[in-house]
């Protein structure tokens, strides 16, 4: 079962190592991990997408809470989950193919971020299934490079995760 876990942490040195080490030790595989500072510069927010059964999830939440630098932990319920991930894809692109790729970008609402004689870099922020889809559409042109940021997530509605 895939879980999306939001963690508010003190922005201290080593905190990410503590968190990722904990996941590894407790046998919880991390799919993706994204981290960034919040509106309070002393607090960072980590979003982890990971696999595990309910028992492991409960243990992971409790063990995370035991880390001194962890302020809050919340596993976002699937039906309240607003997820985004950013992807950058560099594809082969001849002059003849440019129009096709521009129309793919239009339909998928991706941005063309860079272009060269024989390549084009497209950028898209969306949820995971859409990104997979996008990747499939670009594959026939020959993907030169892909970078993904890892998922960030927020709860839908007015509830919020704050200190």
């Amino acid at each position: 079962m895939k879980h999306t876990i939001s963690i508010l942490v003190e922005n201290n040195a080593g905190v990410l190592a503590r968190i990722s080490g904990l996941f590894a030790r407790r046998g919880f595989n991390i799919h993706s991990l994204a981290v960034g500072v919040t509106d309070d510069e002393k607090v960072s927010r980590v979003t982890i997408v990971a696999n595990g059964d309910d028992y492991t999830l409960e243990q992971i939440e409790k063990q995370l809470n035991k880390l001194i630098d962890v302020i809050k932990v919340r596993t976002v319920k699937p039906d309240e989950l607003l997820e985004r991930e950013l992807i950058l894809v560099k594809v082969n692109c001849t002059a003849q193919q440019r129009h096709e790729l521009i129309s793919i970008a239009k339909i998928t609402q991706a941005k063309i971020s860079d272009i060269s004689v024989d390549s084009m870099t497209l950028e898209l922020s969306d949820n995971q299934p859409q990104l997979e889809n996008f990747q499939e559409l670009l594959r026939p042109y020959g993907i030169k490079e892909i970078v993904r940021t890892g998922t960030i997530a927020i709860q839908t509605g007015s509830a919020s995760l704050r200190i």
Binding site: V9, G14, A17, G21, R25, E58, K62, I68, I163
Partner: protein, 549 residues
């Protein structure tokens, strides 16, 4: 108090004084020299151990006796890595130690400098928290937080790594009076509704049982446990870490459970209809088959929410301080009786005692029976005693045969099962409380992992008594090979080992060899009367087992 301009090293010493530290266990090296140099000017007594791991164990035992965080110190690199086993052992057994290590100078950190080790990184899985001090001005806050974190909630080890240049830096220093860590707020009082629910469940139970773990001792909840057990007539069993939580001679105490536990304790766990797991994590050593919980209402009381539901199923979890919750729980209850249930357990205990006596009668007289030896030892020792046990068959003999009053303590490495623990633990325990009679019970393998600490005892006049059970084997592993590997013994023969009396003599320590049961009592008496360290070399049949069946 006004701020003063001093070095970080001096500030560290001041901070320890403020934390009321009387002794530290340590080992020097270049990277921690600024600190030790300042310590010279303090009343704090420095005890030079002979290996850093032992300093960690000594600090651990010291903390177990005083109930407050104790301090061990090492230098960078190998000094720090030598501490790891002690830190990990303290972590497993929830023991509050503050370990301070020197680190190479800040500018060299990360460059694989001479004697550099990423000790905060290496210890991450084994600490409650750690600090790598990068900012000299933070030292007071770091130490204050370290003691607070180590000693509150579920106790555990905290590591502070201080680069050498930072130790020498001058700062404006004032030790903080208090700490506030917004992300660390351990629960103390138990949830009232849950406690009421637990009381209701207990009222319905006809065969309740308390399993006391190390958490009872850590919380100082022995009296509360006794009151609860006596008022509600509830039998008590314990985990290895819980031995001594209640007097072993208490009429409602039925021994240690688990793989190496006694039959009656296992029977009690199997037969009970309600279990109060009191500061016990019900680890795989205590419960091998979770089907024993089928049909049992489990009330789990623990300071650490992560222990709840981890190893045992739970019906009524209560999180908080074990002492406080036991008090709260008792307030909800009126006296009750479970005569039939207690009588059934007493019959089982009696039958087992007779069986054990029978075995003793038929045995080879040219060796000492370690089980009756331990009973004889406890008979001679004053009631205020600390028995420090090592790991191996000897640990099981000790666990199942020590006799302790409310004042007695049993100290061993439970969760980690670290060989070589007993002697340094005894050194720590005796340093913490000179009025207690402290005995280390060692296996001959285990003793050879730590006997250099005899020097520590001699140097610092620490009057510890040592018993070495000599069976010339790594007995517990040999037994495992006999049972599970078709008797193919390998790597367990201790041939080449020394005469332990001569070892003692080399350190100027007296002692004697005990070769048969009837010599035991008088030898133990001489040991107990000695005002200096004393060693008994106790010859044990190598066929002596640890498993009961």
């Amino acid at each position: 108090m006004a701020k003063e301009t001093i070095t970080v090293a001096a500030a560290m010493v001041k901070a320890l004084e403020k934390e009321n530290i009387k002794h530290i266990f340590g080992y020097p090296g270049a990277a921690i020299c600024p600190f030790f140099d300042e310590l010279l000017r303090s009343e704090i007594k420095s005890i030079l151990v002979r290996h850093e791991v032992n300093g960690g164990h000594s600090a651990g035992a010291y903390a177990r006796i005083t109930g407050k965080p104790a301090v061990c110190i090492a230098t960078s690199g190998p000094g720090a890595t030598n501490l790891i086993t002690a830190i990990a052992s303290a972590h497993m057994d929830s023991i509050p130690i503050v370990a301070i290590t020197g680190q190479v100078v800040s500018g060299l950190v990360g460059r694989d400098a001479f004697q550099e080790a990423d000790i905060t990184g290496a210890c991450e899985p084994f600490v409650k928290h750690s600090f790598l001090v990068k900012n000299a001005d933070s030292i007071g806050e770091v130490i204050k937080k370290a003691f607070y974190i180590a000693g509150t909630g579920r106790p555990g080890p905290v590591l502070i790594d201080v680069p050498m240049d930072i130790q020498k830096q001058e700062i404006e220093f004032e030790y903080p009076e208090s700490v506030e860590i917004r992300s660390y707020k351990p629960s103390f009082t138990g949830n009232k509704l849950q406690i009421k629910k637990a009381a209701e469940a207990l009222k319905k139970s006809s065969k309740p049982l308390i399993c006391a773990g190390g958490g009872v001792i850590a919380a100082g909840a022995g009296n509360e446990l006794k009151t609860l057990s006596e008022m509600c007539d509830i039998p008590v069993i314990s985990t290895m870490m819980g031995i001594g939580a209640i007097s072993t001679s208490h009429k409602s105490y039925f021994g240690m459970l688990g793989v190496f536990g006694v039959r009656t304790a296992k029977l009690a766990l199997k037969e009970c209809d309600l279990l109060i797991a009191l500061g016990a994590r019900m680890s795989d050593r205590s419960v091998t088959d979770s089907s024993v919980f089928d049909g049992t209402t489990v009330i789990h009381i623990d300071v650490d929410p992560a222990e709840i539901g981890k190893n045992a199923p739970v019906n009524i979890p209560i999180v908080g301080d074990v002492k406080r919750i036991t008090e709260q729980f008792t307030e909800e209850l009126a006296p009750m009786r479970h005569e039939e249930w207690q009588a059934a357990l007493r019959r089982s205990k009696q039958a087992n005692a007779e069986k054990a006596a029978e075995e003793l009668r038929g045995r080879n007289g040219s060796y000492v029976n370690p089980k009756s030896f331990i009973k004889a030892l406890c008979g001679v020792l004053p009631s205020k005693c600390v028995i420090c046990s090592d790991v191996g068959s000897n640990q099981i003999w000790a666990a199942n045969n020590v006799e302790l009053t409310d004042e007695g303590r049993f100290i061993t490495s439970g969760g980690m099962g670290t060989m070589g623990y007993a002697l340094p633990a005894a050194v720590g325990a005796k340093t913490a409380d000179g009025s207690a009679e402290v005995v280390a019970l060692c296996g001959d393998g285990s003793f050879q992992m730590c006997f250099m600490e005899l020097a520590t005892a001699v140097q610092h006049n620490i009057n510890v008594k040592v018993v070495v059970f000599v069976n010339n084997y790594l007995g517990m592993v040999r037994e495992l090979q006999d049972n599970n590997y078709g008797g193919r013994r390998t790597m367990v023969d201790l041939s080449g080992s020394p005469d332990y009396l001569k070892i003692a003599e080399a350190y100027g320590i007296g002692g004697e060899t005990v070769t048969s049961d009837h010599q035991a009592e008088s030898a133990v008496k001489r040991m107990a009367e000695s005002v200096k360290p004393y060693l008994l070399q106790v010859m044990v049949d190598s066929n002596e087992r640890s498993l009961l069946e």
